[in-house]
């Protein structure tokens, strides 16, 4: 803290003071160094599981436990990655994951934007009440709904289909809530001006509102992408054919089949983690913003 020296009582003039200031600056620097070394150590320990995942993915099966705490085995076994692709249709699983996560994110974002616009800008009866009921389901655990949703999907003959993974979870209140809050903070004047110029509500939504709400839309899209990408319980329930699996389910099926074959399993896990790592690195600002706005409710 730079203010520390200023707040010292009885500041002497001259040499003594200067010596004192240098000493406390040194102390501060030492403190900061210790703090930085500490955070690097803690950070490295925290990241260790991912390093271990990757290290294990390159070890021959026979050496996975014999190498103890060492990162390296006698040789680098890239063939674990080949095993993943041949043991299960992993390419297909990755494509499924992208299809589900992208369409889920698009559907969630569009639906949320339309609802948010109505709740923030249009006048209708019971608007506040309806919004509160809708919002109340933010704390409703999805796990409560999986049994009836399963029966519904079975009746619709949608078991083992990708739409069954996408549609049921695109209607949560989080996205609409976030965009509505953002819309309420925007002045209505732009829209009024456009209306006076004769623009209809669709035109206003498309050319006036859409450019203004890009930030919260991105947050909603990124968060629903990640939710779909990581979701496990629902795919486990509604998919039992590996060709329709998403990555988490593929991983668990893989571990069920080859429970002790850790090399290929960690290769598959590494492949599952990489896209998420890229998302974190590329979209960290949206993520941080989204979290502080209440994204990932109750994960």
């Amino acid at each position: 803290m730079t203010t520390e020296t200023l707040a010292q009582p009885e500041i002497d003039k001259g040499l003594a003071h200067r010596r004192h200031a240098t000493a406390s600056r040194k102390k501060r620097r030492a403190g900061r160094l210790v703090s930085r070394i500490g955070v690097v150590l803690v950070g490295a320990a925290f990241f260790f599981p991912f390093l271990w995942m990757f290290a294990t993915s390159l070890k021959p099966t026979s050496e996975i436990f014999s190498t103890g705490a060492s990162f390296l085995a006698s040789r680098v076994e890239w063939s674990n990655y080949q095993t993943v692709w041949t043991a299960i249709p992993f390419g297909r699983v990755i494509i499924n994951s992208f299809l589900v996560a992208v369409s889920g994110a698009v559907l969630t974002t569009v639906v949320s934007l339309l609802s948010a616009y109505a709740f923030a800008r249009l006048q209708f009866r019971h608007r506040e009440k309806l919004f509160l009921v809708f919002l109340g389901t933010l704390v409703l655990p999805q796990e409560v709904l999986v049994i009836p949703l399963y029966i519904m999907m079975a009746k619709l003959d949608m078991i083992n289909s990708l739409p069954a993974l996408i549609v049921p979870f695109a209607f949560g209140a989080f996205g609409a809530f976030l965009i509505r809050q953002f819309l309420l903070s925007l002045p209505v004047e732009f829209e009024e001006a456009a209306r006076i110029d004769g623009a209809g509500s669709i035109r206003i939504l498309w050319s006036v509102i859409l450019p203004l709400v890009r930030a919260p839309l991105a947050v909603v899209a990124v968060f629903s992408f990640i939710d779909y990408w990581s979701s496990f319980l629902w795919p486990l329930i509604v998919i039992n054919d590996v060709s329709q699996a998403t990555i988490p389910l593929g991983l668990s099926m893989f571990s069920g089949e080859r429970g002790t074959d850790w090399g290929p399993l960690m290769a598959a896990a590494t492949l599952a983690v990489i896209p998420s790592l890229l998302v974190v690195i590329l979209l960290q600002r949206q993520l941080v913003k989204g979290v502080s706005m209440g994204g990932f409710g109750g994960r």
């Binding site: 925290f46 599981p49 609802s115 049994i147 009836p148 949703l149 399963y150 209607f171 983690v273 409710g297």
Partner: protein, 306 residues
């Protein structure tokens, strides 16, 4: 305050009255509200109905009235075990997570330019698939895994982290805190950035020590973020499923079995969808009660007056 998380609904700014726009609103709301009705409201009601039936995966359901609930409350010791496990998990996980997250958030806040990098680093496991996270922890925690190999270097014979009933739940909690802590670090970090440095400086000049500043200034100013984190973390912890499913299979015995794991098994392994729905409603009621309790205490615990 910037981007302060809040669960309160802001007052709606009234747009100039133009009369009702009911039809237009209905058109915009149609997709969202239809989906909401079909995939949230209907299943919620349906699960209550299903819980009154003996409902197999295949074959005809049979109405049994409240039998499932009677069995749940009086005839199924496993229910009380999983309820106790889930409560234990929820409380320990939330307490450890919040205290550690607060400590790390304050540390990173005072770290200057290095803070944001580590904030993102701690956030990584929140985003990576839980299944991958859980599997690597299973590998690390196996009897001859890397953690015990590391301990062996110091002559310590490591325990069976996942198959010792004394330790298995602790291992799940540790793994879960690692997985989830980054979320709270970011929320609390945003809260800390919202505290005016002048306020802390004023407290310092008035002679408040570091602990006094923490308890009398930082903590009250941070209470909205802390409240938000507590609500979210507790709700999330009651849904714990993937960790026990992949790390311990709920074992040894039922020592790490949780409500949602038990719900899943009843529905899809034991062929008892009705009973699983009764469990789902038990979970629903518990989460609602806890949320209501927290919000009823909000005024007392949270200082929204900045």
């Amino acid at each position: 305050m910037t981007a302060l998380p809040t669960l309160a609904v802001k007052d709606v700014k009234r747009t100039p009255a133009r009369g009702g726009q009911g039809r237009l609103a209905a058109a915009y709301l149609a997709p969202g509200m239809l989906g909401f009705l079909i995939f949230i409201v209907l299943p919620l009601v349906a699960s209550l109905v299903i819980s009154l039936f003996d409902w197999p995966l295949f074959g005809a359901p049979k109405f049994v009235g409240l039998d499932n609930y009677v069995r749940l409350l009086t005839g199924d010791p496993v229910f009380w075990t999983v309820l106790g496990n889930t409560l234990f998990f929820a409380v320990s996980y939330t307490v450890v997570n919040l205290i550690a997250a607060l400590a790390v958030a304050i540390w990173l806040h005072n770290l200057g330019s290095w803070g944001p990098f580590f904030r993102v680093l701690f956030f990584i496991p929140v985003v990576t698939p839980m299944v991958a996270n859980a599997l690597v922890w299973r590998l690390m925690l196996t009897d001859d895994g890397v953690i015990n190999s590391f301990l062996a270097n110091f002559g310590i014979h490591g325990p069976s982290w996942l198959s010792d009933s004394q330790l298995a739940m602790g291992s799940l909690i540790a793994m879960s805190v690692w997985q989830g802590i980054g979320y709270n670090i970011i929320v609390l970090g945003a809260g800390l950035s919202g505290i005016s440095p002048n306020l802390l400086e004023a407290a310092r000049i008035d002679g408040a020590g570091a602990w006094q500043r923490f308890f009398r200034v930082v903590l009250p100013m941070l209470s909205p973020s802390l409240f938000f984190c507590t609500v979210m973390t507790i709700i999330g912890s009651f849904k714990v499923f993937t960790q026990p499913y992949l790390l311990t299979l709920g074992g040894p015995g039922d020592s790490t079995n949780t409500i949602v794991l038990y719900l899943y098994r009843n529905g899809f392994s034991f062929d008892k969808l009705g009973y699983a729905s009764a469990l789902a409603w038990a979970l629903f009621v518990i989460v609602m009660l806890i949320t209501a309790l927290q919000f009823s205490q909000q005024k007392r615990l949270v200082n929204y007056d900045n």
